[in-house]
């Protein structure tokens, strides 16, 4: 499965951390800003390049040297939150 990144947010460095801030007419709540960690940054970078989720997870397992189940859980948590905020959508 692939995810599509919406154009209603942008990322920028704030005090050394990557943050997501909303953009455009659909902005209702400033609370939709969030700071993301290195894992989130890693995932988002690949999603925006159109990489398939299976390939992202495989690359994460190798890069972070962690168990596949933990990586999958992290991936799921991050993408679910991003979907909830309207920043990602699923592409079948």
């Amino acid at each position: 499965m692939k995810y599509i990144a919406s154009d209603n947010f942008t990322t920028t460095d704030v005090l050394g951390e990557m943050v997501i801030v909303p953009v455009g007419k659909d902005v209702k709540e400033n609370g939709n800003m969030l700071a993301i960690n290195k894992t989130g940054e890693f995932i988002l970078e690949r999603i925006t390049k159109g990489v398939d989720s299976k390939d992202i997870i495989e690359e994460m397992v190798k890069t972070f040297d962690a168990e596949s189940s933990l990586i999958e859980a992290d991936f799921q948590k991050f993408t679910s939150r991003m979907i909830e905020l309207g920043y990602l959508s699923e592409k079948e």
């Binding site: 947010f9 942008t10 920028t12 704030v14 005090l15 050394g16 951390e17 990557m18 943050v19 801030v21 909303p22 953009v23 455009g24 007419k25 902005v27 709540e29 400033n30 609370g31 800003m33 969030l34 700071a35």
Partner: protein, 295 residues
Amino acid sequence: MKTICISVANITIRMSAEEPLDFSDAGFRGFVIASADEADICISVSDATGDTHSEADRESWIVGDCRDMEFSENIWEIGVTKNGENYIVVDSYRHDSEYSWVKMRYKGNCGKIQICRRPQQSPTIDPYIFPTINLLISNLLAKSNGFMIHSSVVDDGGKGYLFTAVSGTGKSTMAKLWKEKGATIVNDDMIAITNGENTVEAHNIPMSYYNQEPRKIALRGIFLISQSPTNFIRPISGATAVLKLAANTIYHPFTKEDSTRHIKSVAESVQHVRLFELGFKPDTDIVDEVRKLNL
């Protein structure tokens, strides 16, 4: 040609019209200055008629509303047109208001406001129609490394403290507690922030039915407040702190550059002024506890 100039949070606005201009809202009069030869923005004000004021050439926009049942009820829209003009439209849906709609367009340091007044209003034009100028100030601040934030600010013997929270959490209560202990309230609802080289200043802005003079104070502490059974003050920092503060700011991010610029402005304030989470019960003990921080 009649002219009136105001200065708000270091932004100077010069308004001109064929007819006499005056502010029916006392909240604005304190911000009038004698003249502004080099205003940040010059706006021509004129009457308009008709029912329609749609912006057919709009490119990106944000819609909001003000539902202060006592003073005003309106829908506003702020946006940019395809040729890069900024625009603000305010529609009143109260039949006893002095106008039915207001439209402002501006680009660079020039702009115009058209006001569709209801019949039999006063012979003067009031160029301040809430929230038109507030939206303009918010937009101009955003372009000059500042922002507006829901907050109260007090001046405690030259030290400025800002208390921010969502509505109903205690911003005004906090300001009153400080007043009881001898501080001056800069404003208890909405504040404009300007980032200087090494300082962050908080300014009051014109508000409906606030009879006030312009005030500003350099900030020494920023507090994200909440009600609590016991008082506590905890320092916070980093990106999460910036985002918590930004959540109470007012901004209209039409583009990625707007959003980035805004969050960088908030981060700059946090780099110069310490940020705390503060829980308080409504008595003046909290004032003493903040003073003990010796910021």
